[in-house]
Symmetry: none
Subunit: 496 residues, 2 copies
């Protein structure tokens, strides 16, 4: 099927030339309106849509964020449904309402392919005093970098998709594909209600969907685009050690107690060695072996390890070759200790023996690790370590989050379309990469909708998602908007 003729593209001699000419006009439009696009991003970043901290005020901000996005989608001409997904149950037993999930549609031409874009508008917590150079909720541009919480994860990419669609609308060009949007506000909190919603909407909203695109991660370079064909899963654990609910004074009780922090530190210290190897017995049993074909793909990746290290501001990685580093980020599991709740965490010198403490750690999972098996292995290991201590305290281990890993077949149609769009807009082949982090939605779409899932990232490697001074480059944001426009055109060509 060819893209619908439009007044501007009709004089062209072939669909391909017409498409090239249209893309040039779309790109010019995007360039000319870039300050407006940045201003919209500024307005979106200004909303403290933090889904992690379970506070009513922040939930209000999330609601406001979703309403802003719904308005913007309606301005594009989309029909928008804000689906209530109920409440989130908190560990303390309370419940907090969750923001609605937006389901939006634009076009339903049965002759066109239907591409569904997934994005999220919630963010990680951020406070200026944690080391931000400016208010994290005031988008600040310095040397072409747009600093702000959510700028790259994931408000910028959601807007880039909207910008691309908006460019077609502004030029009064038919969209070459039908577009659907699913936009949520609880991704950082693990998307508690999303899978159920997707299952429920499988035969309704998702019934005509041919392809799913996610743009919620980063390139592996500052300048070279990438396509992502796999993500790691995650199993997040808490281990609580309790002596009593109240704290103790270390003067009046120090020396006669099994102190919960000593137990906890021993438990956390038993998880991973100094070389990064996870010490939980059996944990590597189901990790897929490396194939020759896979090894070649890693060798082809354009990564200057020294530049990567230095731009990450890290003195040294655990491994010395590009292949080892990338494999340990993408196709091997890793274990990180995140912190301790309930101990003394403020500045100063408080002489407290915390009475009850909770350690937090997670294991990034890879094919073909299995969540229930990992959960059992971790619990057995910690119980073994704890019982050896003969402590009178009480230990409780919980897996509070379990998310599967995902991997796609890079020979699928939309991977080829995306490669061509990248070639057109950026003049280069993309790096074919994975993402070491967890985007559970990819695996859910793959399992439930059973359609091809593509990850088409816009952000540069140094964007610092989840970190202080998160940013997206103006160049990535604007060229990324063009990339999405080019991608729509390439997807249409697949159906020619």
């Amino acid at each position: 099927m060819s893209p619908s003729p439009s007044p501007a593209s009709s004089p062209a001699s072939s669909p391909s030339l017409a498409s090239a000419s249209l893309l040039r006009r779309l790109s010019r439009h995007i360039d000319r309106h870039q300050d407006e696009f940045v201003q919209t991003l500024r307005e979106w970043v200004a909303v403290e849509s933090d889904s992690i901290q379970p506070m009513p005020r922040l939930r209000q901000e999330l609601l406001r964020m979703m309403a802003l996005a719904a308005d913007r989608l309606r301005c594009l001409g989309a029909s928008v449904e804000a689906v209530d997904v109920g409440s989130q149950k908190l560990p303390d037993g309370d419940a907090l309402p969750m923001p609605p999930v937006l389901l939006a549609e634009l076009g339903s031409d049965p002759q066109k392919a239907t591409v569904c874009f997934y994005g999220h508008l919630d963010v990680q917590p951020a406070r200026q005093e944690d080391g931000w150079l400016a208010d994290p909720y005031a988008l600040t541009e310095v040397d072409g970098k747009l600093y702000g919480r959510g700028a790259t994860d994931n408000k910028g990419p959601v807007l880039a998709w909207i910008n691309a669609v908006g460019a077609f609308r502004a030029l009064q060009e038919d969209l070459p594909v039908n577009i659907k949007f699913i936009v949520e506000g609880m991704e950082e909190a693990g998307s508690p209600a999303l899978e159920e919603l997707i299952r429920r909407e499988k035969d309704r909203f998702f019934s005509g969907v041919d392809y799913i695109v996610i743009s919620d991660n980063l390139w592996i370079s500052q300048r070279k685009p990438a396509l992502i064909y796999g993500t790691r899963g995650n199993s997040y654990f808490t281990v609580e050690v309790k002596c009593r609910d109240q704290d103790f004074h270390s003067g009046t009780f120090g020396g006669i107690l099994n102190e919960p922090m000593a137990d906890l530190v021993a438990l956390l210290g038993s998880l991973v060695d100094a070389s990064g190897r996870i010490l939980v017995p059996g944990i590597y049993d189901h990790v897929a072996p490396v194939t020759d074909e896979e090894r070649e793909m890693y060798e082809a990746i354009d990564l200057d390890l020294e530049e990567y290290r230095s731009s990450s501001r890290v003195k040294k990685f655990l491994f010395d070759t590009k292949e080892e580093v990338l494999m340990h980020l993408w196709r091997y599991p890793s274990l990180s200790i995140h912190g301790v709740e309930g101990a003394f965490d403020k500045p100063g010198a408080k002489t407290v023996i915390p009475g009850r403490v909770t350690g937090k750690f997670s294991i990034r999972l890879v094919p073909h690790m299995n969540l229930p098996v990992v959960e059992r292995q971790v619990k057995q290991h910690l119980q073994h370590i704890f019982s050896k201590r003969n402590s009178s305290n009480q230990m409780t281990v919980s897996m509070v989050l379990g998310l599967h890993p995902w991997v796609a077949d890079v020979r699928e149609n939309q991977y080829r379309a995306a490669r061509r769009a990248i070639k057109t807009v950026f003049g280069t082949e993309p790096d074919m990469i994975r993402d070491g982090s967890t985007i559970p939605i990819a695996k859910i779409f793959q399992d439930v909708i059973q359609k091809s899932v593509l990850m088409l990232p816009l952000g540069a490697v140094d964007d610092g998602e989840h970190s202080q001074n998160e940013k997206i480059n103006r160049w990535n944001y604007i060229e990324g908007s063009k990339l999405f426009a080019a991608f729509f055109l390439e997807m249409a060509k697949l159906h020619e």
Copy 2:
């Protein structure tokens, strides 16, 4: 030297009998006036003299408290000097004025011993909504218990001393010793200016002082009095492990970093074993060996270990006998891990690799441990553990607080006098105990003034200092006032 003859005691046939008769009259006076004494305590408790929260309103309350006390001391006939000790520098750079230290004198007979009493009139914060049964600043009597913030720590004991002196004055009896008072208002905030003041006043106010008495802690029993002859010191350490200032996302960096939390957990886990033994090499080298005499003192202490355990709401202590438990609280060092600053410490499941974390722990010190030696041992140990990990991170260990332990010779004169006074007033030998926490003032007096320091507590074990529903029993307050009167008489006998 004999107590000065007085009309009432003169008919007695010996100084000892005269003293016994005088004490009976003093005790009767104290019993008869106990409601007045409780009323004065009520007036003092009503002043919210909180030195912890750096608020101007509370500093005004502290000034009012010190003025009330100065008035009361002047009514006794004392000469009182309110010494300005300047301002307290707050962490945020602001400064707040500190309340004056009162230096008061009553009598300067060169033939009498001079006893200096140290006390403080500031209190820990208290709010009724934290779990107090009544307004913490309205002294409330229930079943002979006088509930109120500061009732036992330290307003009650300061007033008991004043009540004892006042009884001599009311009966127009000469004081058998010269009395000095040093009363401060910043003890709970760490007495920032006190050591300097004591050093400055060493050859002036303190020049004639023979003995120093502190009554700022508790018995180990609800009914049996105690003498305290030692307190532990404290060395507070921070150990920072830094990869970079910013945090990382555990998805995008997990697997290729020496993660600071893994290093820190290994460092903290190397400090103390599951039996509470400190693993820093050499740390026990200077701990005084237990003598037979000491062992007997521990055996004589009246402690129901099971009741102590259950009232502490602890399932099990590390040791099974009274002697082991008390020795590990008082005369052996202990190490407590307080917490971690810079890691994820909130509720929820944040997938962060903290970039820079600071662990906090402290070691309670006992004679004859030496602060610089302990500091060196801890630093060397942590450097050794860290270097074995071959981590690319940066580790910094600091001792941020160093307070010496204190121990007195229980054969000193005033210990003997206090034991006799206790025997006379309470009809029992005291428990000879130590305090596991750190009261730096004792060691400062010992080092600077170089005179005998005695801790003569009045409060019962369940008084709940620093806690909700702090109280002093009416019985302890009134019998304690008699005890101080008896102590003055016994001190005079020492000089007969």
